[in-house]
């Protein structure tokens, strides 16, 4: 029943069997983005009409589909998980030497037939570079990451605009606490669920006068009764006014960029992806001491 083949399968494209039923009969076949929505290259491209959602779109559990478009099991006992080429893969222990110099592992490969049945199994060598990417948890991890909805930062400043900032007086900078916290999202197929979490780790402030300030947290809100001249846990002291005699309303643009550390875990595996960023900006009027009275903007 089991043939020992020397077929070298070089799978590149992760797929959770998500796809529109059927495919055009040009040679693109299994690498069509409709069938590999988790491929980062596919995020660049527009979804075709009728494709399931856009990049990172969709929700819920997508069924796995076979070559004829019919819904099939994503996992079959003794056959393993269904991959992009309509074959099930199950890691096996074959002592045969690998057919290539590339490190990898033997997998039992059983392909769906056009009538929906599963054909005979054969051994296939799956390169290590490919294994990690095609492993189901890592595919679901990427999908879960794409479903993360990160809060946009909301900038707060003391003195609170429209009161202007004053040169040589500390400007307190912080973000609203509601947007600062761990976010998570999940992707699942029957029998396996992977959760991605994003944790805010840092705020990079661009203060508009050429300075940059990095704060490890959201900063501390200034409260009534605090000394406004005290050095804030997160803030900046302007030395040059934004307003000039010619342009009394000129402002600095203050930008806050939150970096999120993103990890996914599930199915006995875990991994990370590059940090994600959210950003917001606001305009700040900075005046010279005494300028408060001349602008008339003081309380």
């Amino acid at each position: 029943m089991l043939r020992r083949g020397t077929l070298v399968v070089l799978l590149a494209v992760a797929l959770v069997g998500v796809g529109t039923p059927g495919w055009a009969d040009d040679p693109i076949g299994p690498i069509d983005c409709n069938r590999t929505p988790n491929d980062p290259y596919c995020d660049v491209l527009a979804p075709a009409p009728g494709a399931p959602g856009g990049p990172g779109g969709g929700g819920g559990v997508q069924p796995c589909r076979g070559p004829s478009g019919a819904v099939v099991a994503c996992f079959v006992d003794g056959r393993g998980w269904l991959w992009a080429d309509d074959c099930y893969y199950l890691r096996g222990n074959l002592a045969d030497p690998p057919p290539t110099t590339e490190a990898g592992a033997w997998y039992l490969r059983s392909c769906l037939q056009v009538d929906g049945s599963i054909g005979p199994s054969s051994w296939a060598w799956v390169a290590q570079s490919v294994q990690a990417r095609i492993s189901l948890p890592s595919m679901l991890g990427r999908l879960a990451v794409s479903r993360l909805r990160l809060a946009l930062p909301v900038i707060r400043v003391n003195p609170a605009p429209p009161t202007p900032q004053v040169v040589q007086v500390p400007t307190w900078l912080w973000l609203e606490a509601a947007g600062w916290g761990q976010r998570s999202a999940t992707a699942a197929v029957p029998g396996l669920s992977v959760t991605a979490t994003a944790t805010p780790v840092r705020v990079d402030w661009v203060t508009g006068d050429g300075a940059r300030v990095t704060c490890a947290g959201p900063g501390t809100p200034w409260r009534e009764g605090m000394n406004p001249a005290a050095r804030p846990p997160c803030g900046h002291t302007y030395t040059v006014a934004s307003a000039t005699a010619e342009q009394p309303h000129r402002t600095y643009t203050v930008q806050a960029t939150v970096s999120w550390q993103v990890r996914w875990a599930g199915g006995g595996a875990s991994g990370g992806v590059p940090d994600m960023q959210t950003t917001a900006a606001t305009a700040l009027l900075v005046v010279r001491a005494g300028g408060i009275n001349t602008t008339g903007a003081a309380r």
Partner: protein
């Protein structure tokens, strides 16, 4: 790379030597996967895609060593056939949005990665 893929498709040969010359890494793996899948089904391809490439970005701009290409390929005359010579089925091809990354290595441009969107995407 398309020419190599077209040539390899005549026999659905995932190890066609031309593939190596024009593609590496992810791109080579993907092309081979498509060819291997066709071979497993006993299919070959005939014809060729109509290309319409444009440079999306290049770096460094003055003397690029990395280029991203966008294309809208037309596959209506690049289809898969059974060994008997008849079309594999009556699903037509069509226009597909394509992105491809090329790198200059040892004086040769190679496709290192690409993505191909579904029919009707451009």
């Amino acid at each position: 790379m398309w020419r190599a893929w077209v040539a390899a498709g005549a026999t659905s040969d995932p190890n066609h030597p031309d593939l190596n010359r024009y593609a590496s890494g992810d791109a080579l793996t993907k092309a081979r996967l498509a060819l291997q899948t066709a071979r497993d089904r006993g299919l070959v391809s005939k014809g060729e895609p109509v290309l319409n490439p444009r440079v999306d970005s290049a770096s460094p701009p003055a003397k690029p060593r990395a280029v991203r290409i966008r294309d809208c390929i037309d596959t209506t005359k690049w289809l898969t056939y059974k060994a008997s010579g008849e079309l594999a089925n009556d699903e037509p091809g069509g226009r597909r949005d394509v992105v491809a990354d090329l790198r200059l290595r040892a004086g040769t441009w190679k496709v290192i990665g690409f993505g191909i969107a579904g029919v009707g995407s451009c």
